[in-house]
């Protein structure tokens, strides 16, 4: 459905995204994950045809975004980070305006607007001015705008940012109710959102994809590893160099007098690490084996300070 090939975007000297490639198939719900400034929004904007990449291509349903922008845009509903709503319009007028922009035929316009209002539960505020609505409602109006015309693809840029916890839950419910009818790309830096909604996640950091797997696969691929948190009294560098000799150690992160060690999960390995630290004479204060969950996977994959000892995967 969506095929992104070698996408690169430079803002001046800064590379926002760097040779990004991925595919999204029909009906899939893909979570786009990454820290702030990783290039999520840029990638989404390029897919929607809002801006052009420096190089690379995007195909939607076999159509190139830059050769057939109008056709491609017809297939996409886009909710930007800041909902694009006109404060001086009533909700219903705004949605009618959107359906005209999107070329919804006049006959079906009212029903298209009504169904978007119903899906986003905006019935109570449909006659109100958008500028008087709360942030959560504005966000919903933005989503209703994206839903108008029933596009095959929905691209939602951080749909839950700035909402209060109940609104976040509602928004999540709303998004999961849209599953099945649309191909959805969802960006976020909030992990539970991905766990709640997505079939697959693409983790992006510094403009490159660091992981693109289903949740189960990702958990699996990381399950062979474990993290050990070690607190020492002194000579943290020495402990690190000793530990790095142990077979199976993948990353070591120094954090003050703490070492965060990531390694393949084996009793011998853990024993060896413990032995090395004790032998280094750094004064072992704490030794804790931590379980691996999505949050940690994310932090690990996107951590910039990491001391790489053989790549992520």
């Amino acid at each position: 459905m969506i095929e992104v090939k070698n996408l690169t975007k430079n803002y001046g000297d800064r590379k926002a995204i760097d040779t990004l490639s991925f595919k999204v198939s029909k009906g899939e719900v893909v979570g786009f994950l990454g820290p702030n400034g990783a290039g999520k929004s840029t990638t989404m904007k390029i897919i929607t045809g809002y801006m052009a990449p420096t190089s690379g291509s995007v195909e939607v349903d076999g159509l190139d975004v830059f050769e057939d922008p109008v056709e491609v845009k017809r297939k996409i509903g886009y909710l930007p980070e800041i909902p694009p709503v006109y404060g001086d319009m009533r909700v219903i007028d705004f949605l009618k305006f959107c359906s005209r922009l999107k070329g919804v035929p006049g006959k079906t316009m009212n029903s298209a607007v009504a169904s978007a209002i119903e899906k986003t539960s905006l019935q109570d505020v449909q006659k109100r001015m958008i500028q008087n609505l709360s942030k959560g409602y504005k966000q919903r109006v933005g989503l209703a705008q994206a839903l108008i015309g029933d596009p095959e693809i929905l691209i939602l840029d951080e749909p839950t940012v700035g909402l209060d916890p109940t609104q976040v839950v509602e928004m999540r419910k709303l998004i999961s109710s849209l599953r099945g009818n649309h191909t959805i790309i969802l960006s976020t830096h909030i992990l539970p959102e991905v766990q709640a909604n997505c079939d697959r996640i693409i983790i992006i950091n510094n403009g490159s994809i660091v992981a693109s797997e289903t949740l189960a696969d990702l958990a699996q691929s990381q399950s062979g590893t474990c993290r050990i948190g070690v607190q020492v009294a002194r000579d943290v560098e020495k402990a690190k160099s000793k530990v790095s000799l142990v077979e199976g150690v993948k990353h070591i992160l120094i954090n003050g007098m703490r070492l965060d060690i990531e390694m393949s999960h084996s009793s011998e390995g853990i024993e060896a690490v413990a032995t090395q630290i004790v032998e280094s004479g750094s004064g072992l204060l704490e030794f804790r084996i931590e379980s691996s969950n999505l949050e940690e996977i994310f932090i690990k994959l996107t951590s910039e300070k990491e001391t790489s000892m053989g790549g992520v995967q």
């Binding site: 056709e71 930007p80 694009p84 922009l101």
Partner: protein
């Protein structure tokens, strides 16, 4: 087409219901009423004096022309205020994202925006037309020059709008858009001054031709010249085109 009219209608509605439009059209009315009445009394007095001597005065040149010149002067300042929000505010409020990701072209956006302000400007022109129309109730005059003047004024307003729109497309600051629009429009008027500065007859003829003032005068005199109409339409097309390029450029920048 439908999307273009949707943009035009939406912008028109939001513009004419904005306080800024009320204030400007209110001031517009006051100013015109004040000066028009003075001019018409002045005209009545003079025509009485001249009638004694067996001569007549032309109501078009002595009343309508100065009325319309004043309208032009107000439009010159009011139109950039109308156009300033057209694109600059869309960018600032991020509603530009909606326009650029909708299945419409940059041309539709630019023309839609142009039409919106043009319709709002026509509201002002209609107000301005009330005065000569009211005069027609108790005076008899030839309609030709008046109609040609209004056509000229509408075209002239089109140029101001196209320029203002262009100014609004290059910035996301509403204030800057208004200022830039005014400066560009004024410079269009002042190009004609170049004629006085050059001794070269070719150059001076050139300046006269590109000056918007010279072209407008012919409409005001009741001569509907094809060159003047073409000049006005091409000036509008040029700036709408430039606006379209700027809107389009955000897709490949």
């Amino acid at each position: 087409m439908r999307a273009m009219f949707a943009i035009a209608w939406k912008d028109f509605r939001s513009l004419v219901s904005s306080p800024i439009f009320f204030v400007i059209s209110g001031l517009f009315c006051c100013l015109l009423s004040f000066t028009y009445i003075r001019q018409i009394f002045d005209f009545a007095r003079r025509s009485m004096v001249l009638a004694h001597q067996g001569q007549g005065v032309n109501i078009h040149m002595s009343v309508f022309a100065s009325h319309l010149s004043l309208v032009n002067l107000i439009l010159l300042l009011a139109i950039p205020v109308f156009t300033m929000r057209a694109l600059a505010e869309e960018k600032k409020m991020r509603t530009y994202d909606l326009l650029l990701t909708s299945p419409i072209t940059a041309t539709q956006i630019s023309f839609g925006k142009f039409l919106a302000v043009f319709m709002s400007g026509m509201v002002l022109l209609l107000i301005a037309a009330i005065y000569p129309l009211g005069t027609a109730l108790f005076a008899d005059f030839s309609w030709g020059p008046l109609i040609s003047s209004f056509i000229g004024l509408a075209l002239l307003m089109g140029i101001y709008i196209a320029i203002g729109l262009f100014a609004s497309s290059v910035t996301s600051s509403v204030i800057l858009a208004a200022f830039l629009g005014m400066v560009l429009i004024l410079s269009f008027w002042f190009i004609g001054q170049g004629a006085g500065f050059s001794d070269d007859p070719v150059l001076s003829a050139f300046f006269e031709h590109v000056s918007v003032g010279q072209q407008f005068v012919s409409f005001l005199q009741g001569t509907l010249k094809l060159t003047a109409v073409v000049y006005m339409l091409s000036a509008i097309a040029l700036f709408v085109f430039l606006t379209q390029r700027v809107v389009e450029s955000s897709r490949w920048r």
